[in-house]
């Protein structure tokens, strides 16, 4: 069931991420829904599920854009590991912690992806725009991550994947 829920949220998240517009004043940053899902699986599930989610989310993001295959898997995997590393220190269900992690992870993934793409000579974007996009990604990540967590937790509860009494992810 966990796999089915993961596939459902990843596919829907990918379609939404490709549909939602990028805010120009945030450097054209796209809402990092797929990254938020990777963070959710890092916080709420095992390392194996997180890795599987990072792999699938990365493949989807790369396939739905022009990013060379595997770049996003690598970045998402690193973000997932960072979240795994600190998840025991974070109070369960804390909005603020999710916002901070979401923002930091989105900024780091965006920056890392930019470095990889520049190194591969795959993108023509000025450093100033990349910086603005990184800040934009951080803002969107901070706003979206708690929301995505709540949606997936609610979905898992509806499908019996998570006990109703349990309040938050973890």
């Amino acid at each position: 069931m966990t796999l089915l829920v993961m596939l459902l949220v990843l596919l829907t998240g990918a379609a939404l991420q490709a549909l939602l517009p990028g805010w120009t004043w945030l450097g054209g940053a796209q809402p990092p829904i797929l990254l938020a899902l990777v963070l959710f699986y890092a916080f709420a599930h095992s390392r194996g599920w997180m890795l599987f989610c990072a792999l699938l989310a990365g493949l989807l993001q790369d396939a739905l854009g022009q990013v060379p295959l595997g770049f996003s898997c690598f970045c998402f995997g690193l973000a997932g590991f960072a979240a795994l590393r600190y998840r025991d220190d974070v109070e369960e269900g804390a909005w603020l912690a999710q916002m901070v992690f979401g923002g930091l992870a989105a900024a780091a993934v965006n920056l890392l992806l930019y470095i990889l793409l520049r190194h591969a000579d795959a993108v023509v974007v000025s450093s100033a725009l990349a910086l603005r996009k990184t800040i934009g990604s951080a803002l969107l990540g901070a706003l979206l991550t708690p929301l995505v967590f709540r949606v997936v937790i609610s979905l898992e509860r509806q499908l019996g994947e998570r006990p109703a009494s349990r309040e938050e992810a973890g």
Partner: protein, 289 residues
Amino acid sequence: MRDRTLFVLILAGVVLLVILNLPEPVSGRLKGFVRDAVAPLQLLVVDISRQGQETIKLARGVSQLMSENQRQAGEIARLRLRLNELDKLEDETLKLRHLLEFRNRTPRRLIACDVLGRDASGWWQTLRLDKGANDSVHADMAVTTPEGLMGRVISATARTCDVLLISDPKCKISAMVSRSQAFGIVTGNGVTTQGQPVCRMEFINVDRRHPVQNGDEVVTSGLGGVFPKDLQIGRLENVKVNDSGLYAEAEVVIAADLGALDYVFVVAGLSPGAPSATAAGPAAEAGAP
């Protein structure tokens, strides 16, 4: 437990290394497979989003909708009349061309496409459309809207294609100013902070008798073999001419609404008469990410 964790980590590392080092054709096929698999879901999400927008519009005012329908009905009637006139003119032109032994140019076929989404990473200015090789859509076909040129197809799978928008810095178009016939290269220049996509046009060897001016209409030149001739790109702004008067550059305000997730048209069957790149038409109609 520790062994299992180690095994999972090694497995993940190996999978990642394999994915990163896949040969280009294999990774392209894999991407295409995922794209085609997700396309129906994307179409569903786009449909739901569109229906939501329509419902909101409907709620805002049925009367406004009715008057809009009336206006559109009038517009359709006017366009039908105009189309009839143009059909007659086209027949006449074709006959004349035949008589003059000009190359017989078949009218271009337009393939209507639905926009499925944008580049999911946000690093490129691309759109994904719901038509691909199964519908005879291939790379290097122009994509346009009634307002003007949008971009060109950079890759196509069986059921989808990706379009590089003209505002992307990797997109270059051989263009000309319709008033003065001055040739130049239009290059994507990203999006302004106000959200307006813009291009830059460079002119070399500007004819001093016909200088380019703000407000001039820019169209495709047809040179380069990718974009058909006379597709509107936009209008010139902030024209700057250097001291020698031979080199000029300007911003191009794009005519098409690149941000709208609406129907667009792929221009199929580029006329066989379109010449390849020449000295006058800079050979730089390129730009696949």
